[in-house]
Amino acid sequence: MMDDYTIGLVVALIAVIITFYAAFREKNDIHRLIIADLAEVSALAIIALIATDLAEALIIPGLVVGISELMALSEIYLVRENLNRPVKEPFRIEVLDTAPAIIAAILVIYGIVLSGFTGGVVAGTGMVFYFMGKKQTERFALVETVSGYAWAFWIVAFFIFMVLPEYWFFAVMLAGGAIFAKVTAKMSLIGTMRGEKDV
């Protein structure tokens, strides 16, 4: 009788083979972008089978690299095909008209509770929804200034770990809060990608 890991590995490898066969046969560029996303999902299934903290440590950087790769590829596609003009008839996504304020509030509060990198990602997702829903005229220079100071605080926390290890709790709190503010600020920039003419 095979154990969980072997069965899972067979299933995940079948999924990967199907994905790459589809990617091989596909000619349309946007379909290929979507299949790249699918390839990320089926490849992460293999890593998820490891089932320890090692799996989490491998999945999180994989996700971050995957989303950056997807953004870079989509940006290259838009520039190559000269599609950077404003959209003539954007999709009417009803939930983006009504829900963003509530979803943003819930996600930001939950992100503050989580703190750290994951908290920053969750709170940042809330801000992405908020900025996508509203026609934004926010002061992004201010957000970026906060992000810069947060990075400096993060470094200060690491110096406290090295020089004054007895204040480790203060340093943990400083580092957690600072990386939270930094990731949130960076993620909130993504939310503006749809709205303005040249972002």
Binding site: I7, L44, E56, I60, L63, Y77, L78, L83, T125
Partner: protein, 79 residues
């Protein structure tokens, strides 16, 4: 094997097969098929108690959908 794991594998395979060979070659429906495969992956992660991985995957999937929708609404209509 616990039920989440079995269900996760089934949904993962179904989602991958559906988005690899979609019945309607339409961008939006293909994107939704990818979300099905993502649901299967999340069930597999749930079976192995990978909390932080699930939370990050949810957040990243939301952003990936936004990025792809942005390309789809600017690109040419399909075939």
């Amino acid at each position: 094997m616990n039920p989440e794991l079995i269900l996760g594998f089934i949904i993962l395979l179904a989602g991958v097969a559906a988005s690899a060979f979609p019945r309607e070659r339409d961008y939006i429906s293909r994107l939704i098929h990818v979300e099905i495969a993502g649901t299967g992956l999340m069930l597999v992660m749930l079976a192995y108690d990978e909390t932080i991985a699930i939370l990050t995957f949810v957040a990243v999937t939301a952003i990936a959908t936004i990025v792809l929708i942005r390309v789809i609404e600017r690109g040419e209509p399909c075939d």
